[in-house]
Symmetry: C2
Subunit: 190 residues, 2 copies
């Protein structure tokens, strides 16, 4: 198949991300967010908040990471961060999904995207740490705006919320300081 | 107000993009697309299709353009490309929207984003031409997948569709050649 046709097949396939609902809801809203909306919002947040990164980062790479980070959920579905019945570190199913979906692209691109997705998942580089900070920070803002949101809905203790969201600090100390204050204030009102 | 708080206000404000419905629908679907989903999809398309650009382009800048290009619609609403009662070149209302919304950001960022949005709107640089090509190409793919989609729904003649989508050629001759074939084939079946 020629390159363009192969790429167009991929572009059609990823439309499915718009149907993957997250547990969290939009700001001040009862409407669930979907993965495409979420990915767009993270890209905007990375663009806007880059100056608060602990380290100098390649913002272009961070954008790629957040734009593609949830595409695997087309096959594996959204996993709720506070769902204790599922192992969030088991990426076997997600790796299979990454290989199938990114594998629709011409070989060099497929490799590039799988590598970027793996770099995000591993969370070891400065870019991955900042991208993951954005991924944690958005639902904090949303839950605070929704008077506790999923924390309240699923009866998650403050300590658990802090434990799960604390990796924000690896990307940005400033954003974590703000987040912690917001979480504390939000739980006072729940 | 401190910089981070100002930026967070902006991040909350742009959540509204998720409520702005476009006329076009998702692939093989009856569900309308919203502006946030659309912006995410254009960013992915730019990432994937960059090799088909007529000219060497700065992909990082194109990503910024497509991510922010519709934010003004939070104030001015989505304008349907085939709506002949509205002037699509009148950006006065959109400029006011850009100044209000991007103006929520710290001054240097506000200026940067207004400038990028204006560059996109003017469509003169190679980056703007390619970004606009993506913006035209996505609804072509969607309408073809939906057996004519908005072209059929609003009774738009093939010649009009070609006239309105032809600017794709300014960004990518290869993508325009493909688009034209798809439009022709789609109209044969309508």
């Amino acid at each position: 198949m020629n390159t363009l046709l192969q790429q167009i097949q991929f572009i059609k396939e990823i439309d499915k991300l718009k149907y993957i609902q997250r547990k969290t809801k939009l700001f001040n809203s009862d409407k669930h967010e979907n993965d495409a909306e979420h990915s767009w919002h993270l890209a905007m947040m990375a663009l806007i908040l880059v100056e608060h990164s602990n380290e100098e980062i390649n913002l272009f790479k961070v954008l790629k990471m957040v734009l593609i980070h949830d595409i695997v959920e087309i096959d594996s579905g959204d996993i709720f961060i506070f769902d204790t019945t599922k192992n969030h570190n088991n990426t076997e199913e997600e790796l299979k999904a990454a290989k199938r979906i990114f594998g629709m692209l011409p070989e060099i691109q497929a490799k590039e995207f799988i590598d970027i997705w793996l770099e995000f998942e591993r969370g070891e580089t400065n870019e991955a740490k900042f991208a993951k900070a954005m991924d944690r920070f958005e639902p904090i803002l949303q839950n605070v705006s929704n008077k506790g949101g999923t924390w309240k809905e699923y009866n998650v203790a403050k300590e658990k919320v802090i434990e799960k969201t604390k990796p924000v600090i690896l990307g940005s100390k400033a954003i974590w300081d703000y987040s912690l204050e917001e979480i504390e204030m939000s739980f006072e009102k729940i």
